[in-house]
């Protein structure tokens, strides 16, 4: 099927930067403000789904060769492993730590192990959401 979707393609190419930038902002601001791995992951997933919608699954799968089940699984694995950092020092599971680091340009910055946990959550959300939408949308029989 060949259809004229120039507007959709052009718009997607622009919008995708906005969506991903906003997703990353949501993801990073999660520690003190509304946001976090879950919502950031959902935003990224919506961007990827927009890709699939406008360019079709064949073209996207070729340029983005990801098995989304594996993305989700590694995300959960990362999150669980981060939770185990606490075990090493004898604290309860999921205890997180905060470090103050002086990044030269950005000034003093808080870096937490919770960020790593959130990365896992984000990956899990991206993987599951995209995989669910792809599974429902394609007829594999």
């Amino acid at each position: 099927m060949k259809s004229n979707d120039v507007i959709l393609h052009t718009l997607t190419k622009v919008a995708i930067f906005v969506i991903f930038t906003f997703a990353i902002d949501l993801f990073l601001s999660g520690h003190h403000e509304p946001g976090g791995g879950f919502i950031g992951g959902l935003a990224i997933a919506s961007g990827i789904v927009l890709f699939y919608l406008s360019f079709g699954s064949e073209r996207v799968s070729k340029n983005l060769p990801l098995n989304f089940i594996k993305v989700a699984a590694s995300g959960v694995a990362i999150a669980v492993l981060t939770g185990m950092i606490g075990l090493l020092s004898g604290d309860p599971f999921l205890t997180h730590r905060i470090y103050e680091v002086d990044l030269l340009i950005f000034g003093p910055t808080e870096i937490t192990t919770a960020l790593l946990f959130d990365t896992g959550v984000a990956l899990a959300v991206v993987g599951t959401a995209v995989h669910i939408i792809l599974t429902i949308s394609e007829d594999r029989e």
Binding site: F38, I132, T135, I136, E141
Partner: protein, 112 residues
């Protein structure tokens, strides 16, 4: 406000029950989906519907909104999302394999 939402929950549960009792698979799925929405609404209502106060007790403010129900329904919604997706795929496969979406015909017989 709570009373209004309570009535809304009642309506959702009523529609959900009606749909659950029908025979088509898709209607049943919509029914369980509405049912879970009613459950989520109930949780957030039970935490108290207040406006204008932050979820944390600070030095100035004396009232606060309970943040826990929000965390609970976030989890419940995610689980519900995953389960609904699974049920949709499962029902589609069942339909393909059994050639019917009528639960009445999916009772199964003794000799097969």
């Amino acid at each position: 406000m709570e009373i209004l939402v309570a009535i809304l929950i009642g309506i959702l549960v009523a529609i959900g029950t009606y749909l659950l009792l029908s025979k088509e698979m898709l209607r049943i799925i919509l029914g369980i989906s509405l049912f879970s929405h009613a459950a989520n609404l109930l949780i957030i209502t039970m935490g108290g519907l207040k406006t204008g106060s932050p979820p944390l007790l600070s030095e100035e403010g004396s009232t606060f909104t309970d943040a826990l129900p929000q965390a609970l329904i976030l989890t419940a919604i995610v689980i519900n999302f995953a389960v609904t997706a699974l049920v949709l795929v499962l029902s589609y496969r069942t339909y393909k394999k059994n050639r019917t979406d009528n639960m009445e015909k999916l009772r199964g017989n003794e000799h097969e």
